[in-house]
């Protein structure tokens, strides 16, 4: 299974552990990532650029789609925000041929044309839809039966449901829970799993942002979670990086490790915590890993 790989900004910046763990597990799952053709792809605009200039945001994403189309491969993302912004852009481009033609005029100078066939998919969906849960289960060498894990999707992987094709692909709605169960862990179903982590307003209203971190992590912990798992590096930045502030602000001890999705998979597939960069988190994963007799 070959994919044109779109790593996004954060996995190449503040969350290098996501990039490394993705590479490690994809090899084991038979997912072949093509880096080179997508090297020049820009940021999706993360919904922020779109506030000011929706067409420019759609043009940048059409450019990325055209690059992927040229490879003839499906496009793989590892960030809920990248995925959501791309899905929304693709939705607008595919349903309005005049709009797409207008955007293609701007892309023509670079020799690119988006034909409307790209299918950007998050690694989480690829695991459920392409690899398959049965195959994943068959590859598990360390069943994580001692782990109780709270899923945390990231807004853009659950809304808006039409752009994410939930009606045609209902299995996407609880894909994270299914993956957690497939690696042997217990799902801690908590109400915050589809809510906002607070990251988009971190630099704008830090108090509210950190309160969201406190609410989600404390809720998950009170319901018995040992850790949280997220397919979104932006959620990870806030839930992991700002958890100490959340603890101070709420005057409660939290100490809940936040795992990237590939790190969870890697542990179950028998990879060493170091190879998954589980030592790079702000909230230590030491106690969690001791449950499976590993050290970060």
């Amino acid at each position: 299974m070959k994919y044109a790989f779109y790593p996004g900004c954060v996995s190449r910046g503040a969350c290098p552990e996501l990039f490394e763990s993705t590479k490690a597990i994809c090899t084991m799952l038979g997912i072949d990532l093509e880096f080179e053709p997508m090297q020049g792809a820009s940021c999706t605009g993360s919904g922020i650029l779109q506030e000011k200039n929706l067409k420019l945001g759609d043009t940048l994403n059409a450019r990325t789609f055209a690059m992927a189309e040229r490879t003839g491969l499906p496009l793989l993302t590892i960030c809920s925000t990248c995925q959501g912004v791309m899905s929304q852009a693709n939705n607008r481009l595919k349903k309005d041929s005049a709009y797409l033609a207008e955007i293609n005029e701007d892309l023509a100078e670079e020799g690119l044309e988006y034909k409307g066939t790209a299918d950007p998919r998050h690694l989480l969906w690829v695991i459920v839809e392409d690899v398959g849960l049965e195959k994943l289960k068959s590859l598990v060498v360390t069943p994580l039966t001692e782990f109780q894990l709270a899923p945390f999707y990231g807004c853009y992987l659950v809304r808006p449901t039409d752009a994410l094709e939930f009606e045609d692909k209902p299995e996407r709605q609880d894909s994270l829970e299914k993956v957690i169960e497939a690696v042997g862990a217990k799902v801690v179903d908590f109400p915050g799993k589809t809510l906002c982590c607070g990251f988009p307003i971190l630099t704008i209203n830090e108090k509210n942002s950190v309160k969201m971190v406190a609410n989600h992590t404390l809720d998950a912990k009170e319901m018995g979670a040992d850790a949280m798992v997220t397919p979104c590096p932006l959620c990870h930045l806030n839930l992991d990086g700002y958890q100490p502030q959340a603890s101070t602000q709420s005057r409660k001890s939290i100490d809940l490790p936040i795992l990237h999705l590939p790190q969870l998979l890697g542990l179950a597939l028998g990879l060493e915590p170091k190879a998954l960069r589980l030592n790079q988190h702000i909230i230590s994963t030491k106690r969690l890993l001791s449950k499976v007799a590993l050290a970060p």
Partner: protein, 317 residues
């Protein structure tokens, strides 16, 4: 069909008022709505159940409540569509982010206070027209969907910001504000935009899309909030953290093709905002020690000149 409604009850007129869930087993037609079920309970099973409803046609906006965890109008939600594959009971709770008065009735006073706060009436200073204020059809068309708002409060119920900060104006009031900000007959756009970009206004929205998802009338409150942000930046309200953040993200993508994560918070807060920068130091040290500090000078993406060209074209458009 046989169905169980698990309703969250609360009665303040007891010695120790506490909420609890009560199950009701009903036999309903396949065409029945949740509201039909609730009315049946109130009229035939338990007359003490409190709820608001009126038109039964998604027009009055009275019966917004949480159905299986999501805000919906009870009158346009069918029971058959709310039953899960496992045949679990349908969970009915009062709308969120508002004080419960009794059972499914919540206090809308803060909701209406915020609507009043955005001054939801046409303001036209200067010369008065002889007859009426005229606006062309085309100049009003883009407001049609926002005028469809029935003030049901579904968006407010599920707003993730209101869960942590009750001072946020919220999606309903901000969508209503856009209706006047973008009305060609209103002359007070400038002062409206100034007020709407203050703390508790448009920049506090997280863009989580909960309001978009639950709105029964496709008002797209978050889209309206984004429209106000855009208009505010156009009008020169560019000094808030929110406006600066948006401008810097765009600049970064134009210059290097991605976000410069290290400098983004520093530039957003302002280079000389020392107090805010000091607050970033502990996390900065931790990320350095963990070997995950973003690059000081991130490299440009290959072919970045093409992205810059698209920005130049986009600005002209």
């Amino acid at each position: 069909m046989n169905v169980t409604l698990n309703i969250k009850r609360f009665n303040p007129d007891t010695d120790r008022p506490e909420s609890y869930y009560e199950s009701y087993h009903l036999e309903m037609d396949d065409s029945a709505t949740i509201l039909d079920g609730l009315i049946k309970i109130r009229e035939e099973v338990d007359g003490s159940l409190a709820l608001r409803c009126s038109c039964r046609s998604s027009i009055c906006g009275s019966c917004a409540m949480r159905i299986n965890g999501q805000a919906k109008l009870a009158c346009n939600t069918k029971i058959i569509d709310s039953v899960t594959e496992q045949d679990d009971p349908i969970v009915i709770e009062p709308a969120g982010n508002m004080q419960v008065v009794k059972d499914l009735v919540v206090d809308f006073k803060p909701f209406w206070d915020k609507i009043r706060e955005i001054e939801p009436w046409l303001q036209h200073l200067g010369s008065k027209p002889q007859d009426e204020y005229i606006a062309s059809n085309t100049s009003m068309l883009h407001l049609a969907s926002v005028m469809d708002c029935i003030m049901c409060g579904a968006c407010v119920s599920d707003c993730t910001v209101l869960q942590v900060d009750s001072s946020f104006l919220g999606p309903a009031a901000l969508a209503k504000a856009y209706r006047f900000v973008a009305d060609p007959r209103d002359t007070e756009q400038g002062s409206r935009l100034g007020a709407l970009t203050e703390k508790g206004g448009v920049w506090d929205c997280t863009r989580c899309m909960q309001c978009v998802e639950v709105c029964p009338k496709d008002v797209d409150p978050m889209g309206r909030i984004m429209n106000i942000r855009d208009k505010a930046m156009e009008a020169g309200y560019t000094h808030s953290y929110g406006a600066r953040h948006a401008a810097i993200v765009a600049e970064d993508i134009e210059n290097i093709g991605r976000v410069d994560e290290l400098k983004l918070p520093i530039k957003t807060k302002g280079f000389f905002n020392i107090f805010e920068h000091i607050k970033l130091i502990p996390l900065g040290i931790k990320t350095q020690l963990k070997g995950k500090r973003p690059a000081l000078f991130p490299k440009k993406n290959p072919g970045q000149e093409n992205v810059r060209r698209l920005f130049t074209k986009g600005d002209k458009n």
